[in-house]
């Protein structure tokens, strides 16, 4: 093509371009791939190019895991209070309620997963970093009790930086509380599966997240007791590549499996059917 014959490019009027909604495009944090939002969403917010598992809101996870029209939210009215009169906690709570919704850092529902009755708790990192305060502990405890009452399996999906500092030692005690409920479930031989997503650290990883009859994790999720920054500070050296990722934990015997988000529902179903004495799905038998 000769440069001197190049046609003038017809420019779009500026007005029209402004009419494109600002959230039409999404960019993958890991590889920089830019795509229309819809494509990310249809892919469960996993990057179609590099498979990076981007964050999902609790309601989106619930929709992805629970059979259509079977999810019923429970304990939706529980709200955090400020038991210690902790500096700026009420303001932070108000902001979280406005930006991240009413469910606090966990959405709890009952419903069916591939037809199996389950109680599902999904943590929401958008609400104060998924931190576990009294409401998170109480919702898990009541969900667990509901599962015991109805003989449901329990699934908890974690995404949390740990205990909520603003509720002090009461947050710490939620670790004991949730573990106590899980011991009751275990006594009744009801299955509990823990799913770890990015990140699962601190008091959440050191309680229910690590107590599953099966523990699954999403690829690349950071999982650990202490955060990488704290460890780096303690040992005074850089952390090895891939330290505290789901794959690292799998290699060290801390997980049963690293599961792609697209296979999460079917994997949960398969595990639950084994643990609940249900027959395999027809397709699995044929395979």
């Amino acid at each position: 093509m000769a440069w001197f014959r190049k046609d003038r490019k017809v420019r779009q009027p500026r007005r029209e371009r402004l009419e494109i909604p600002p959230d039409t495009w999404e960019k993958c944090e890991a590889c920089g791939h830019t795509d229309i939002r819809d494509r990310f969403q249809r892919n469960l917010n996993v990057c179609p190019v590099c498979d990076y598992h981007r964050r999902l809101r609790a309601s989106e996870y619930t929709a992805a895991l629970i059979d259509e029209n079977t999810a019923e939210e429970i304990e939706a009215d529980l709200r955090s209070v400020d038991p210690l009169s902790f500096p700026e906690y009420p303001q932070r709570l108000r902001k979280a309620l406005t930006n991240a919704g009413d469910a606090d850092a966990i959405l709890t529902v009952t419903g069916r997963l591939e037809g199996l009755p389950v109680g599902l708790g999904v943590m929401d990192f958008a609400f104060m970093g998924g931190s576990m305060g009294s409401v998170v502990g109480e919702k898990i405890a009541r969900l667990g009790e509901r599962c015991i009452e109805k003989k449901y399996a329990l699934i908890l999906l974690s995404a949390s930086g740990g205990a909520r500092m603003q509720e002090g030692v009461l947050s710490l005690m939620q670790m004991a509380k949730t573990s106590a409920v899980l011991s009751q479930l275990a006594e009744r031989r009801l299955p509990y599966i823990s799913v770890l997503t990015n990140p699962t650290t601190g008091g959440v990883s050191a309680s229910y997240a690590m107590l599953g009859d099966a523990i699954l994790a999403e690829p690349g999720a950071v999982i650990g007791f202490a955060g990488p920054r704290v460890i780096k500070q303690t040992i005074g050296q850089d952390l090895p590549e891939g330290f505290q990722t789901a794959e690292f934990l799998l290699e060290h015997g801390m997980l049963d499996s690293v599961v792609h988000r697209k296979q999460l529902k079917s994997t949960l179903g398969q595990l639950l059917r084994h643990m609940m004495g249900r027959p395999a799905l027809a397709t699995a038998v044929a395979g």
Partner: protein, 322 residues
């Protein structure tokens, strides 16, 4: 951490003690009777101690709780118990000296004692990792609890740790799982458990010995979800300055009276005037009496009832509306 140095707010006490010692020495050298001079000084010392200790700020209590002169698990084992035989190792990886435990007798009866153990000097602190356990420490603790369950004797735990160790090996070997497992198993252990916070109760690393039928706290001990330094660093990007540490200590509500109010602990065990470090024997005696009372309360309770109540106790904890 210069834990065993004289605490800043205790300096007037130390100064008065020095004066009294000097007077006694001079009197001894010159065979003088200084009784009349000594009595007011000693009275003043007692007053000063009680005044200072009545008005401790939360941050000062943190300093007292961390004081290296304070009695540790090993000291209470000597002072409160008899016939102690230490058990070592998790049977999987290695011995972790940050947690100490074994059979002992309490008023003649066999019990299982498990506690964090700090060191008094640098050498011992290195051996004991400043009382910060690795996963194998918690797994050893669980092994001993299961042993106690098997032979149907009560478990007495002592909490005294800045927190679980944050390091490469600890993460590789599953620090989270080790702590979580203890919380889970302690929720269904078939023998009585009494936990006492004797110094610093630091987060999950403390709670891993803390799921009990009764939780006691020594008067000047603290129990917190995060260290005051960690809290100040996160909130105000300054974990070092005394002002910010003070703010964090106030905000977190970590003193024994705070925890009693929050219904996280059942009883505050009084310490001698001037703190447990001023008089190990008196501190041990008060601890003995509290343990005796609660052991007596729990004795004979059927395991199912014990477990149900223990779970209910922790299931009640928390504050929310709706």
């Amino acid at each position: 951490m210069a834990a065993s140095a004289t605490l800043e707010f205790e300096k007037p006490i130390a100064e008065l003690e020095r004066q009294i010692d000097e007077l006694k020495r001079t009197a001894g050298d010159q065979s003088l009777d200084v009784g009349d001079d000594l009595a007011p000084l000693e009275r003043r010392l007692a007053e000063l101690r009680s005044e200072i200790y009545r008005n401790l700020t939360p941050l000062q209590r943190v300093q007292v709780a961390r004081n290296g002169k304070r009695p540790f698990t090993g000291d209470y084992l000597r002072l409160v118990f008899t016939d102690f035989i230490e058990l070592h190792g998790d049977r999987a990886f290695r011995e972790d000296a940050a947690i100490m435990g074994g059979w002992a007798r309490f008023d003649g009866d066999t019990v299982m004692v498990i506690g964090h153990q700090r060191g008094r000097d640098t050498k011992e602190n290195i051996k004991r990792n400043f009382g910060m356990p690795h996963p194998e420490g918690y797994r050893k603790a669980l092994r001993l609890m299961k042993l106690a369950e098997k032979f149907q004797v009560p478990v007495l735990t002592f909490i005294d740790t800045p927190g679980a160790w944050a390091g490469l090996g600890a993460e590789e070997r599953g620090q989270s799982e080790a702590i979580a497992r203890n919380l889970f198993e302690m929720s269904q252990l078939k023998v009585p458990i009494i936990a006492t916070v004797i110094g610093e109760g630091g987060s999950g690393g403390a709670l891993a010995l803390g799921v009990a039928d009764r939780v006691l706290m020594l008067e000047n001990s603290v129990y917190s979800v995060i260290t005051v330094e960690g809290c100040a660093a996160i909130l105000w990007k300054d974990g070092k300055s005394p002002e910010m540490r003070e703010r964090a200590a106030d905000a977190l509500k970590i003193t024994a009276p705070d925890l009693l109010r929050l219904k996280v602990v059942d009883e505050v065990v009084p310490e001698p005037v001037g703190g447990a470090h001023a008089n190990h024997e008196a501190a041990a005696s008060a601890l003995h009496d509290a343990l005796a009372k609660h052991l007596d309360d729990l004795r004979g309770t059927r395991p199912e009832r014990l477990i149900r109540r223990r779970r209910e106790k922790f299931l009640r904890m928390g504050a929310f509306t709706g």
